[in-house]
């Protein structure tokens, strides 16, 4: 098994805020050279980290292949798949017809036939066309046949927030997929995890969905060159604090981190948790943190109703109610389709300031 040769269960040494893309950090990040050697890793872009994971997986295992609309485009999926077809050939890195329903089933079938497909979808919105194969087939196969067959495949989609992408090109649909037993669901937030979680997803013997975010692609970060996996189902504490637990996903980890840094000046120490995988969810980590802080703010890039924040809030209410000293607060997008115009977009999307106010309100009972 070629996958035994790669470094397992690796965690990022520390959360490097200066790598992130928040407004306060942008100036610092811009001054960092592209491939500066830093310690065990190099400072590379998020796209380069993902690309390196795919490249290493393709080298490591002849069963791995990459498919999807535009994976061999010059831009290569925000750069994540750029030039892979030149190195590994069109047999293993190929463009697909615009037929997400069947192509998703073809990926499932290829997995059953002994391959490890990685299927790139430009946007989660298009995953709705793949829903039948993801939910009715891939997620069911191992259980429905009593473990006789399994489907090792990775679906990847990138939320396209901003630039007027509007209602059908910017949906963050992780709440829908988190609902489905049999799927693993990943939302990376750093360059290090983009690589390690991608390799972990490809190595996994089950269907794994990675929901990425266009905002993540603005980052540079420290990434070791050797192949490694980040454990699925294990979250990390990005910032320790005693007053309030903040669970945030995807690029909101950065926003939560910056909000927490800001509040430190006001004497509030927030603990920021990045679950990294939403399914399986690292419940222990969240509950242990809430047991310490007594307060919880949950931040998600998707809608509020029936979504990720609702699920995590319910989990903590069920299993950690005795620890809570204040009502749980949720920071998520309003229950509306995404508008296109930039003034409306600005009103629609939540971010650092909303998180800061939510923490303040949770800790002091007032958001101002």
């Amino acid at each position: 098994m070629p996958w035994s040769r790669i470094k397992p269960d690796t965690n990022e040494p520390e959360f490097l805020s200066r790598d992130m893309h928040g407004p306060a950090m942008r100036g610092i990040a811009a001054s960092v050279p592209d491939f500066e050697q830093v310690g065990a890793g190099r400072r590379i872009t998020y796209a380069e980290a993902t690309n390196e994971a795919l490249s290493q997986a393709l080298s490591l295992d002849p069963g791995v292949f990459v498919m999807g609309q535009g994976v061999d485009d010059p831009s290569g999926m925000f750069g994540a798949t750029r030039d892979l077809h030149k190195r590994f050939g069109h047999e293993r890195v190929f463009d697909t017809p615009l037929a997400e329903t069947a192509l998703s089933g073809i990926a499932v079938g290829a997995a059953l036939g002994g391959m490890r497909p990685v299927y790139f979808h430009n946007r989660p919105d298009f995953l709705l066309l793949a829903m039948d194969q993801l939910v009715n087939h891939a997620a069911k196969w191992h259980y429905m046949f009593g473990g006789a067959a399994n489907v090792p495949l990775v679906f990847w989609a990138c939320v396209g927030r901003g630039w007027g992408s509007a209602a059908q090109h910017s949906q963050a649909l992780q709440g829908l997929f988190m609902h489905v037993p049999g799927l693993k669901l990943i939302m990376p937030s750093t360059c290090f995890d983009a690589k390690g979680l991608m390799l972990a997803a490809i190595k996994d013997n089950n269907p794994v969905l990675i929901i990425d975010h266009r905002m993540n692609f603005k980052q540079r970060g420290l990434v070791p060159e050797e192949p490694y996996t980040v454990p699925l189902g294990k979250g990390v504490i990005r910032r320790a604090g005693r007053d309030c637990t903040v669970v945030a996903v995807s690029h909101l980890v950065t926003d939560a981190f910056l909000a927490a840094q800001e509040l430190a000046g006001e004497g509030i120490e927030a603990e920021v948790i990045d679950p990294r995988t939403l399914r399986p969810l690292d419940e222990e980590l969240i509950l242990a943190s809430v047991a310490k802080t007594g307060r919880l703010v949950i931040c998600d890039t998707g809608w509020k109703t029936g979504g990720v924040t609702a699920e995590i809030a319910a989990m903590v209410a069920e299993k950690g109610f005795a620890s809570l000293r204040a009502p749980i607060a949720r920071v998520a997008n309003p229950d509306l389709p995404t508008p296109s115009g930039y003034t409306l977009e600005q009103a629609y999307y939540i971010g650092q300031d909303d998180i800061r106010r939510a923490i303040l309100k949770t800790v002091r009972g007032s958001g101002s």
Partner: protein, 327 residues
């Protein structure tokens, strides 16, 4: 068939045996279904036996099949174990899917049956993907997809055919046009009798044949399978047949009034099992004694399978959380 006379007779006897076995298993399920021991929706294959039989006779053990909710015939024709199938219908731990799948979700990995989908049209791309895997792994294995005229309503068929042609995949699409999707006639759903034409772009090897004649089915399948093995791409075979029983359950559970009893009667007279049996007896391929022996062996096997199923343990609450993920 380009076989020696002996080999041809051997094949004919084997195909009749397979058809008889499928028929008798279906009849026994039908006759015992109202006892309420098989608590799973059964979709019986009576009247369509020649198709699974003829196609699977052209396949190797390591070729793949992808089937659908009406899958008993495909499972058995490909070599599936009858005990494991009956145990699955009785919801037992010894079932092929350990009681997690039921009648619509049979699996037999050893014979290339990687599991059947009950979402109409859902198995078509999966079978196509298995063909892609065989091609990428440079194996000379072939993937066969069985689907009905109902699945030919679904877009997955046309999306899959396009991709299979584009990549010249070793896939054989076998459409079993049995005239009905639940209670909707093919003519009420398709704009004319045109599935065959829709499934027949220029470069696709295709045939529309009498699906009740196992030798015609075998010949068409053999040609398609050989093309696929040689790397010449996919084929599409439309087999015209008829669903003698209702969509699901036993005879008395078929709602009345949606189809003309005379239509059913006319197709009963064209029963593929009876016709093939009569043909082989008339041609002297087998005699009455051999046929009687085959019937009694099949009856004994079915008795034993029902006994096995009834005596097998049921899964318990302790099994509920097993198998969600593969380690």
């Amino acid at each position: 068939m380009s076989l020696t006379a002996d080999a041809k007779r051997g094949l004919q006897r084997a195909m009749l045996r397979t058809m008889l076995r499928i028929r008798r298993v279906q009849e026994r399920i039908e006759s015992e279904y109202l006892k309420d021991e098989m608590k799973t929706p059964v979709h019986l294959y009576i009247g369509q036996e020649a198709i699974a039989t003829g196609v699977c006779a052209a396949l190797r053990d390591d070729d793949a099949i992808n089937s659908n909710h009406r899958s008993h015939g495909h499972y058995l024709a490909k070599g599936g174990d009858l005990n494991a199938m009956m145990a699955e219908l009785f919801c037992r731990k010894t079932g092929c899917s350990k009681g997690y799948g039921g009648s619509m979700h049979l699996v037999d990995v050893a014979h290339g049956n990687m599991g059947t989908s009950a979402i109409v049209g859902g198995g078509i791309p999966i079978g196509t993907g298995q063909g892609l895997a065989f091609r990428m792994r440079k194996l000379d294995r072939v993937s066969v997809v069985f689907f009905g005229d109902g699945a030919a309503d679904e877009g997955t068929l046309y999306e899959s055919l396009n991709f299979a042609l584009l990549k010249k995949l070793p896939v054989v699409y076998v459409m079993e046009n049995n005239g009905w999707a639940v209670c909707s006639a093919t003519a009420t759903r398709h704009c004319g009798d045109n599935v065959f034409h829709k499934g027949a772009p220029d470069r696709l090897f295709s045939a529309k044949i009498d699906g009740n004649d196992p030798e015609l089915v075998f010949a068409a399948a053999q040609k398609a399978v050989e093309r696929a093995r040689r790397g010449e791409g996919p084929s599409f075979i439309e087999c015209v047949t008829y669903r003698i029983l209702g969509h699901a359950g036993c005879v008395t559970q078929d709602p009345k009034g949606y189809r003309d009893p005379a239509e059913i009667e006319a197709w009963r007279k064209r029963c593929p099992v009876c016709a093939y049996q009569a043909k082989l007896l008339a041609e002297g391929v087998l005699d009455g004694q051999a046929l009687a022996q085959a019937e009694s062996e099949i009856a004994a096997e079915i008795d034993a399978a029902f006994d096995f199923a009834r005596q097998s343990p049921l899964p318990t609450a302790a099994d509920l959380h097993r198998n969600l993920f593969c380690e």
